[in-house]
């Protein structure tokens, strides 16, 4: 009995309670650190060279078509009264622009990352839940109802401000324009297109009917169910341009994928020559001092052209190598005298 009491009161003699758990005490010795730094440095330099070279091979052609200057081709479209204005930008490529070529549009000084702007959408509407068509999310205000109190679908600032310039690309061969086919598929995230966004189920076999009682966003020329009348899979909320727009950009200067050039004669790329880009100029940006541009680019395994990563790897890699050398010198210098002592 006494022993039991003793056992109960005496603290447990375990490694944990006595703070004697077996422990590894890492010691960064010179023997580990110097080769470690050297290895990391060399690896980084290797990666850096790879990245930098890759980035150099990526071809980019970009052009601002906002039309700020009077002599720029799209200047006349910047006058607000000018509806359905089109302008043509011509350019020439001296070498083959290797395919597949990606066609981006870019905006600057455009704040897609405004907080109020960002929350101004109704996910339930976009997931095809017609229950929310009649009562849009409050965050959508002032793009939730039109002036007649009709609910807007899709509501919110993002949808309302969808980028609506359209482009047609022609190769000019001997004075005649040959249209370059632009592929609008696969420009948005696979998950956005296939899972996250859903169209409402058709009512009585009519897709448009499911939108009954709602109005189109104010700035839209046509309702969501008429975004792509040719391809029903690209219509409504599943319109890829719409999906691309709905994924908000991180920074006020951004580019978004518009089309891919993958088909037909241009699957291998844009051959050298003259090209004409026909712009259906609808999107006003000058009121907030924004700019619009188009970008043609091809991509590599690392994505689009970006020298930053390669340079960063080269710098950090060389830094590591230099430091390991310095440490080696220090170590070697004092190691010998240390041995003498021993």
């Amino acid at each position: 009995m006494k022993n039991e009491g003793e056992a109960a009161k005496r603290p447990d003699n375990t490694a944990f309670t006595q703070q004697r758990l077996p422990a590894w005490q890492p010691i960064l010795s010179a023997g580990i650190v110097i080769p470690g730094f050297l290895l990391i440095g060399l690896a980084f330099i290797g990666i850096g060279i790879g990245l930098f070279l890759t980035s150099q091979t990526i071809q980019v052609w970009e052009m601002d078509y906002t039309g700020v200057e009077k002599d720029s081709p799209c200047f006349r479209c910047t006058i607000l009264s000018n509806q359905n204005c089109t302008c043509e930008v011509t350019f020439s490529l001296s070498t083959l622009f290797t395919g597949p070529v990606f066609f981006y549009y870019g905006l600057s000084n455009y704040y897609q990352n405004f907080r109020k702007y960002g929350v101004s959408k109704d996910y339930y509407q976009l997931a095809g839940d017609t229950g929310y068509f009649k009562s849009p999310e409050a965050d959508c205000a002032p793009y939730a109802y039109d002036s007649k109190k009709n609910p807007i679908v899709p509501c919110g600032a993002i949808a309302n401000s969808i980028f609506n310039d359209t482009f047609e690309l022609y190769q000019i061969i001997n004075g005649t324009k040959k249209q370059v086919p632009l592929d609008g598929k696969g420009i948005s995230w696979w998950t956005d297109y296939n899972i996250k966004y859903r169209n409402p189920s058709p009512v009585n076999g009519s897709f448009a009917k499911s939108f009954d009682g709602t109005v189109k966003p104010i700035n839209w020329p046509k309702p969501a169910y008429e975004l792509d009348l040719i391809d029903p899979n690209n219509n409504g909320f599943l319109n890829q341009d719409f999906l691309v727009w709905m994924r908000r950009a991180a920074l006020p200067q951004f580019r978004k994928l518009y089309r891919r050039i993958t088909d037909g004669d241009y699957a291998a790329g844009l051959p050298a020559g003259n090209y004409s880009l026909k712009v259906h100029y609808n999107y006003p940006v000058l009121s907030f001092d924004g700019r619009k541009k188009v970008v043609f680019s091809n991509v590599s395994w690392m994505g689009g052209k970006n020298d930053f990563l390669g340079i960063a790897y080269l710098v950090v890699g060389s830094l590591c190598v230099v430091m390991s050398v310095v440490m080696l010198v220090v170590y070697a210098k004092f190691k010998f005298s240390d041995d003498d002592d021993a």
Binding site: R10, N113, R115, R248, P252, D289, G304
Partner: protein, 1113 residues
């Protein structure tokens, strides 16, 4: 009368009345006043507090804050419950109360003022009682107040005269003062009403009052009426209110918090200002794609500014590490278990280990600068032992052999064979003196067996085994001496009707008639008895301190003995000299009449007695000296040495006599041979012709000159110099002088006195304060605590008299000693033995401090680099308060992703192993003065956080200059941006902790790698499902998409490495902490087993560097 009654009706105002009337047994008395059952404090001790202490945070951040409050409340509640349980133990203790003629068992807390309480032997009094009846015939009882003032002797208390009748029907009232804390003061009156008589009035003094907490001894039972109960008892009043103690770390936290609060506010202000500057530009405020609602347009601009400011505050509030409080609380709470669990603290004698009463102060154990220790029961065992004696210059020693005896004696024979060195006669005279010259009483042995024999000595009838003979005396020394004499064959059998019986070596009983006892007093510092032998000789035996005996004996005798006395004194023994003289009949007659007259004198009795004593005690002849040891606690000296080695200053605060305390200090090596003692006591003050105050000032100035001005400046970090070049000073002060210093007659001098006193004390290696009242101890602690630099103080004690100082000090340590449990209950930590203090401070305290300091710094750092990118992002999103990270990440960052590794670190880290910490007390100095939480390290961590935050944000910013990061040309959006930054962040701060961890147990591995894995898993999971309860599926597949991008991988890797690079470099290049620590014991460093001793001998690059450069230069 009317006023009093009114007050009483008002109830609460009762305290204003300066006296109280108590009805003994609650019986109405035929007094002018009607009996009103008055409201007195009930006999309950309440030390638990109900307030839930919530950490205050300026911003509410929902879940984390709720979490914080809940966890803190649970923790505090648990600790309060423990306190409550301890209180209950006392409050529910069964007591016997006389009620309507019957004894009724009650719980202690139910005692009301006026109850007649029965207390039996060895019980503690449940409340303050006026002694009414004792089982002893002479109306006295013996009490030990060891747990109140540390004096373990037996004190005699007296019943109120004329009450030893039937208590059941005693009509009486007691008028006494309202409760006050002074233990030694009590004034009251008792009216005893007798039928058809004037009420008899008896005055009551402290000798009638039995204090709560004292223990009844040697008296079978007593009855007393309760006058003060519960929180009004003198013991409770001597407790200071248990205030919430805050550690220095918490103060640092608060300072840092203030800085971060400033950062937060300035961030919000900057953003708000810039927002409006930016918006003033044409078209920026309300671009067509993001128009405002009508309501927003109508809002007042200043109101908008204000709400914007608040929004920024909410956005950045995560910079205030709210969850740090939870983690700190958990760390403290869980960490304190390691103290409880430590088996080194387990004492097999009392079958208990250490006890942690509050876990708030763990780290304070690593910051102690001043140690205040009680003497009796803490440094010493309060257990006197007779060591040796010296008779006529020859040394006798009954303990085992020792080699270092001085030249002319070689005594190491067995007990009963004293070498016949000094001559039979001298020896026996000496031993008889020891047997006779004292006030020891023989305890009624076997009182349980002979229950009806209340007093009377049965030693003669029933010869008991001598070892079991119990002695009672006012001083444990006397018992030790009597026991010592017993060892040599002379046994004191007891005092019966003025005759003392001793049994001599031949087992014959000798009887002496006790004629006079010349009592001990601290000024004379000696006592004498005058006895008459059977043969009619009159003898005077005197014993006392050497300084008081030597002048009164023949000088030629002195030299032979002085050597012994001095040697014994330096060994830390308490020495007494014994002298005797034979009185002729005439001499005795003179002395007898003189003494009788003096005793009866009505005026100046004290002085007259003193003069008479001095007159009698002259011309004696010295027969010998004794040495008694107050056994020190185990390893007391080693512990004190270690504490001093660790840079702590040790002060001994005791209620005991100065001589005793001084010898203990010598024995504990607090004072050493070379220590120069500066004494400031009543004795030194009364030497001169000057007034006390003047003398005090003069002495203070003198000591100040010696100890402070003349002393060479103390080198930083070296508090105790082992070289002889530096003079060590020890300072001694007693209670009376201290009160003079603290409360000088002229208020103006107070600050001057105090500062002189403090400066002297701070330059002394050890300070001894004797004759301290409990509250004075607290006063001293308070004074040091509030002195310049507000050093961290620690008090350690075992008795109720130490409670106030335990409560006053930053850290209070209770010793689970013999003197009750009050100290333990009121302490922050309780340990079974003094020796455990060393490990508690040097190992546990050091580690806790390092752990929590790192924890705090790390928390601030990780939240800074968490929120800095979010702040920077505002510059790129039009100052629109757009969060960079998803809400889930914002909430989970501190709660889940980064909290466990630091918690594990802060529980398990041992940057230096415990053995090394214990072996090198000096390591404790490295963390002194809150070294790890000063502004410099804080700045370092802050700069690190800023550096990394900038790196995270701009690294990804440059990557996103082209957001097409996938090989399918698709672009990433803002949530991808945030997720990349967040991933880098989580990995970096976790790996930073991994770099700092010097002690990798499997738990660290599990938690560090586990939480990284958890982050990845959570991100997949969180982004892998369309969550039905979310309004926005922002992170849907963002993480998975990020991982499909090679560029994202590469940027994450390089940013992590780059962020940690300075840290790695620093670890490699930094001079390792405690350079000697690992080198001294190379074998210790392969505890982990994975390191060879070769590499541990010179583990770091810079170690070889620094060591070498030292030797080169």
């Amino acid at each position: 009368m009317l006023r009093r009654r009114l007050n009483r009706l008002c109830g609460g105002d009762e305290k204003r009345v300066d006296s109280r009337t108590i009805y003994v047994g609650h019986r109405p008395c035929p007094d002018t006043e009607a009996f009103i059952p008055s409201k007195f404090c009930d006999n309950r001790i309440v030390s638990s507090k109900v307030i839930v202490d919530t950490p205050t945070s300026p911003v509410t951040s929902g879940l984390p804050l709720f979490f914080v409050i809940t966890v803190t409340a649970i923790k505090q509640g648990y600790e309060d419950w423990l306190r409550h349980k301890a209180d209950n133990e006392v409050n529910k203790y069964p007591v016997t109360v006389l009620e309507d003629g019957r004894s009724v068992k009650k719980e202690s807390e139910k005692i009301k003022v006026g109850d007649v309480v029965e207390v039996v032997e060895d019980e503690t009094f449940p409340c303050d009682l006026i002694l009414l009846q004792s089982s002893r015939e002479d109306g006295t009882c013996f009490v030990t107040t060891a747990s109140l003032d540390g004096e373990s002797n037996h004190k005699t208390h007296y019943t109120v005269p004329d009450t030893e009748k039937d208590l059941q029907a005693l009509p009486a009232t007691i008028e006494c003062e309202q409760p006050q804390p002074d233990l030694y003061k009590f004034v009251g009156r008792m009216h005893i009403y007798k039928p058809e008589q004037e009420p008899a009035v008896r005055s009551l003094g402290p000798e009638n009052l039995l204090l709560k907490g004292a223990t009844l001894k040697n008296t079978k039972k007593i009855y007393g009426v309760a006058v003060y109960t519960g929180m009004e008892t003198k013991m409770a009043l001597n407790y200071q209110g248990k205030s919430q103690k805050r550690s220095a770390v918490e103060k640092s936290i608060n300072a840092f918090l203030l800085v971060y609060l400033c950062i937060l506010i300035s961030k919000a202000v900057v953003c708000t200002t810039l927002k409006y500057v930016w918006q003033s530009k044409e078209g920026q405020d309300e671009p067509w794609y993001n128009q405002k609602t009508q309501k927003e347009k109508d809002t007042n601009m200043y109101l908008k500014m204000f709400t914007d400011f608040l929004s920024f505050m909410v956005l950045f509030n995560f910079i205030i590490p709210v969850s740090m409080y939870v983690t700190v609380e958990m760390q403290k709470f869980l960490g304190s278990f390691f103290i409880t669990w430590d088996k080194d603290f387990f004492d097999p004698e009392i079958q208990e280990g250490a006890l942690v009463n509050t876990s708030d102060l763990n780290e304070e154990l690593g910051q102690v600068e001043y140690v205040f220790t009680d003497k009796t029961g803490t440094l010493t065992q309060n257990n006197m032992e007779f060591i040796e004696c010296c008779i006529d210059g020859f040394q006798y020693k009954h303990r085992d052999t020792r080699s270092e005896l001085d030249g002319f004696t070689v005594t190491d024979g067995p007990v009963n064979k004293l070498q016949q060195k000094a001559g039979q006669e001298k020896e026996e005279l000496f031993l008889r003196a020891l047997c006779l010259c004292h006030t020891v009483q023989v305890k009624e042995a076997g009182s349980e067996v002979l229950a009806d024999q209340v007093d009377g000595i049965d030693g003669l009838l029933l010869p008991q085994p001598e070892e079991e003979r119990g002695f009672i005396a006012s001083s444990p020394d006397e018992i030790a001496l009597v026991r010592g004499a017993m060892e040599y064959g002379f046994t004191f059998l007891g005092l019966e009707s003025k005759s003392m019986k001793i049994k001599n070596r031949e087992n014959n009983i000798e009887e002496y008639k006790l004629l006079h006892v010349l009592n001990f007093d601290p000024v004379r510092r000696r006592m004498s008895v005058i006895v008459q032998t059977k043969s009619g000789e009159t003898l005077l035996f005197c014993k006392g301190a050497d300084s008081s005996i030597f002048p009164r004996v023949r000088p030629e005798e002195v030299d032979r003995i002085r050597m012994h006395v001095e040697r014994n004194a330096t060994e830390g023994y308490r020495t007494l000299c014994v002298a005797y003289k034979q009185l002729s009949a005439e001499e005795y007659a003179v002395a007898d009449t003189g003494l009788r007259e003096a005793r009866l004198a009505l005026q100046d009795r004290e002085q007259k007695l003193m003069a008479m004593y001095n007159q009698v005690e002259t011309g004696m002849s010295l027969i010998g000296a004794t040495a008694v040891e107050d056994r020190l606690q185990e390893e007391a000296a080693e512990t004190m040495e270690a504490l001093q080695g660790a840079g702590m200053k040790v002060w001994v605060l005791t209620g005991d006599k100065m001589e005793t305390a001084k010898s203990t200090c010598y024995a504990c090596r607090l004072f050493q041979r070379g220590t120069e003692l500066l004494e400031l006591t009543v004795r030194t003050l009364e030497d001169g012709r000057l007034k006390r105050e003047e003398k005090l000032l003069e002495l203070l100035r003198d000591y100040h000159r010696r100890a402070v001005q003349d002393a060479p400046p103390v080198k930083a970090g070296v508090t105790r110099s082992w070289s002889t070049a530096n003079q060590d000073y020890g300072f001694i002060i007693d209670g009376a002088t201290l009160s003079l210093v603290m409360n000088p007659p002229r208020e103006a001098d107070a600050s001057q006195y105090r500062s002189l006193f403090l400066q002297i004390c701070q330059n002394c290696t050890a300070v001894l304060c004797c004759r301290m009242a409990p509250l004075q101890k607290a006063q001293i602690v308070k004074m040091v605590k509030n002195s310049k630099g507000s050093p961290i103080t620690l008090s350690i004690g075992d008795g109720a008299n130490d409670v106030s100082m335990i409560l006053e000090a930053h850290v209070g340590i209770g010793i689970k000693g013999k003197e009750g449990r009050q100290a333990v209950r009121n302490s922050d930590y309780a340990i079974p033995k003094l020796k455990h203090l060393k490990k508690l401070l040097l190992a546990h305290g050091h580690l806790y401090y390092v752990r929590i300091a790192h924890l705090v710094q790390y928390f601030f750092y990780k939240n800074l680099c968490f929120i800095l990118p979010q702040f920077l992002y505002q510059f790129f999103c039009g100052y629109s308060q757009q969060p960079l990270y998803d809400a889930a990440y914002l909430t989970m960052y501190n709660i889940c992703f980064t909290s466990m590794p630091i918690l594990a670190y802060s529980l398990l880290e041992q940057h230096i192993s415990m053995e090394i910490l214990l072996d090198n007390a000096a390591l404790y100095r490295e963390i002194a003065n809150n070294a790890m939480l000063r502004w410099r390290p804080f700045l370092y961590w802050t700069v690190l956080g800023i550096f990394q935050g900038l790196l995270f944000f701009f690294g990804v910013r440059f990557l996103f200059s082209n957001p097409a990061l996938q090989d399918n040309g698709q672009v990433f959006g803002n949530w991808s941006y945030g997720t990349i930054v967040f991933t880098v962040l989580v990995f970096t701060v976790t790996l930073k902790l991994a770099l700092d961890t010097r002690h990798w147990t499997w738990i660290n591995h599990f938690v560090i790698w586990g939480s990284l894995a958890f982050y990845v898993f959570f991100s997949f999971f969180w982004g892998g499902i369309i969550w039905p309860f979310l309004k926005q599926q922002r992170l849907y597949f963002v993480f998975a998409n990020m991982l499909s991008s090679v560029s994202a991988w590469l940027v994450i890797i390089i940013l992590i490495l780059l962020s940690l690079l300075p840290e790695i470099l620093l670890v490699v290049l930094r001079k390792p902490r405690g350079p000697h620590s690992r080198q001294k014991k190379p074998s210790q460093s392969n505890v982990g087993g994975s390191q060879s001793s070769q590499s541990s001998a010179r583990p770091l690059l810079m170690r070889t560097f620094s060591d070498e450069s030292n030797s080169v230069i």
